[in-house]
């Protein structure tokens, strides 16, 4: 049985609207106007125990709202969610003891006190005795490399150090399901890598299920084999990361560098065959997009006719694929209607 089930999950908000200027403020004072926004519309998916799933979408797409409904913070206005066998919004203690929600832009650490005070508090709340708490803090702080920081007031820690301590505080009760909302937000590259590696090791060591939203595609590609893409509150893709690549960008990018400026003749030589498109030229470097079927012969032609100084073949940036999924290119609508079943079909 899936550990997370979302069935036609929906949430709408009533948002106050105010016009500009003094007149608008006065009118707003006497006559409040509201508009209804559908933040999440009929989102359905299942997640099995131990999976690491990436949740992608633009700002305001509905990712965080979905996480809030799954963790029990928000009451869905439609559909239902079941997590660990519980309806999240009921907030049964047995449910809350099995989950954690970590938000990159919010913290639960006690700002004015050392991080260890928050750990002691959380341990008490979750009924973890002192000996066990120290054992878990030692273990997790070792993995996160923050052992030397636990006696310093939280306000004195860097953003990356705080996030590591935040993770430690959230994992002290060993949740079975971990909801992560932008956990690497604002962190430098080294801290991002450390958090990613920790989450991967934690998942492998404990079998915890991870549902992660992030704007950093490196988080998703490093951690998640499965992705959910949401756009304007609707799920537009649910499948393996490799399927996303296959569906929305079966083409490869070729970049060549010559020892002289690239000419139109050079470009014409490369695009001579079917399925090759020139995208741009920058001095000695030219970029092409190639259908996989003609990749080998195109490379052979380039090597034989142009003698490039450098040549690389790449998948397009994952951000571009997400953009295509969001725009509905290559059968995204079909994916939305039957996300899980159609996700493995090639476009």
């Amino acid at each position: 049985m899936p550990i997370i089930q979302a069935g036609k999950l929906s949430r709408s908000f009533k948002v106050p609207v105010r016009k500009d200027g003094v007149g608008g403020s006065l009118r707003h004072f006497f006559d409040r106007q509201y508009k209804h926004t559908d933040a999440v519309k009929d989102v359905s998916f299942d997640i099995e125990s131990g999976e690491r799933v990436g949740f992608l979408g633009q700002n305001g797409a509905g990712k965080t709202t979905t996480l809030k409904m799954l963790s029990g913070l928000l009451l869905p206005t439609g559909g239902e969610a079941v997590v660990c066998g519980f309806t999240p919004f009921d907030k049964k203690p047995a449910f809350l003891a099995q989950i954690a929600l970590v938000m990159g832009n919010k913290q639960q650490l006690l700002w004015d006190l050392p991080a260890k005070d928050t750990f002691q508090l959380n341990a008490a709340i979750y009924g973890i005795d002192d000996v066990e708490m120290r054992r878990r803090v030692d273990e997790l702080s070792g993995m996160l490399e923050v052992s030397a920081l636990l006696d310093q007031p939280v306000r004195k820690l860097s953003l990356g150090e705080r996030m590591k301590c935040e993770l430690l505080a959230s994992l002290l009760h060993r949740p079975k399901v971990l909801f992560l909302d932008e956990p690497t937000l604002g962190l430098d590259v080294n801290a991002q890598v450390a958090v990613r590696e920790f989450l991967k090791r934690y998942n492998e060591a404990t079998g915890a299920t991870i549902l992660l939203t992030s704007h950093y595609m490196a988080d998703i590609t490093a951690l998640c084999s499965r992705v959910l893409v949401i756009h304007e509150g609707q799920l537009v893709f649910d499948g393996d990361l490799s399927d996303l690549t296959a569906r929305f960008q079966p083409k490869k990018e070729i970049q060549i560098k010559l020892d002289r400026p690239v000419t139109d003749v050079d470009v014409a030589l490369v695009v001579a065959g079917q399925g090759v498109h020139h995208t741009k030229t920058e001095g000695r470097v030219a970029h092409f997009v190639v259908e996989p079927a003609v990749l080998r012969e195109t490379l052979t032609r380039i090597l034989a006719r142009l003698d490039p100084k450098d040549l690389s073949v790449q998948d397009p940036p994952i951000e571009e694929l997400i953009g295509r999924a969001i725009r509905g290119d290559h059968g995204a609508e079909r994916a939305a209607k039957n996300p899980r079943s159609s996700s493995s079909e090639p476009a």
């Binding site: 913070l73 009451l75 003891a97 002691q120 008490a124």
Partner: protein, 264 residues
């Protein structure tokens, strides 16, 4: 150790650590309750010049008792809760398997204990400056005072936390508290002892919760209430407490359904 004791210890430890982190702030909070001493001076002068229900020395003792009661029963939960709601701090707290109210309760208890030495110092200083006001309550009087002082804190906390539920609807529920605070000060006896009020008016407001938040515990400390009055006060306070707690739980459930976890 049972889960209950583990939680009480954990919540107290972290809140006490927080309260003692800012020592100067704690002292300033205690000093900010010096309204009682200002009004003591005003009413002392008045009772020296005219006949009132209390003598001038009783007025001094009354306002000193008011100071002590307010040191014990100050409640700030509405501002703490409003900050949690508005700044999105409530969300992570809601996801822990303990009702958020217990964090606030322990915060108040920790604050009270952290403030206690300074409050005692202020009272001792007062007696040193004005020894004529010196009085020693009987042990039974002290026991009743701590009982009604504790009850006053519980009732004041319950009322303010219930008003704080308005944050789910208005997000600025502290403005409602500012209105009720006037009633708390005036009908609670912080501005003037209720003994100075017209008897018929006093009879009516004695059915409201306000007199039991300041005036009544102060009178208990002065040792000027009868057993019948103690019983009546206990009954009225219990009634209000139950009613307010029921309203609080209903509003809490309704509020959570509206909660949009904004900023979180």
């Amino acid at each position: 150790m049972s889960l209950f004791l583990l939680r009480v210890r954990g919540l107290f430890r972290s809140n006490y650590a927080f309260m003692t982190e800012y020592r100067a702030e704690l002292i300033l909070w205690a000093l900010s309750n010096s309204l009682s001493f200002i009004l003591m001076g005003v009413w002392f002068q008045a009772t020296e010049r005219a006949s009132f229900a209390l003598t001038s020395i009783e007025v001094v003792r009354y306002f000193l008792a008011v100071f002590v009661v307010r040191q014990l029963t100050i409640v700030y939960v509405i501002w703490a809760f409003e900050e949690q709601v508005v700044q999105g701090k409530l969300a992570p707290i809601l996801l822990q398997p303990i009702d958020p109210v217990w964090r606030h309760v322990m915060s108040h208890i920790a604050e009270r204990i952290a403030r206690l030495p300074f409050s005692i110092f202020l009272v001792a200083l007062f007696f040193a400056i004005y020894p004529a006001a010196w009085f020693v309550p009987a042990p039974s009087t002290l026991a009743w005072f701590f009982f009604f002082g504790g009850a006053a804190f519980c009732l004041r906390f319950a009322i303010q936390y219930t008003i704080a539920m308005g944050c789910f609807w208005t997000e600025r529920a502290s403005s409602i508290e500012m209105v009720t605070f006037l009633a708390y000060l005036f009908f609670g006896g912080a501005i003037a002892p209720l003994d100075f009020f017209p008897p018929q008016f006093r009879e009516i407001i004695l059915y409201s919760p306000f007199p039991y938040l300041i005036w009544f515990p102060a009178k208990v400390l002065m040792g000027t209430v009868s057993t019948a009055e103690l019983a009546q006060a206990a009954a009225i306070m219990s009634g209000w407490f139950v009613a307010v707690v029921v309203a609080n739980r209903l509003l809490w459930r309704a509020g959570l359904r509206r909660f949009s976890a904004m900023g979180a």
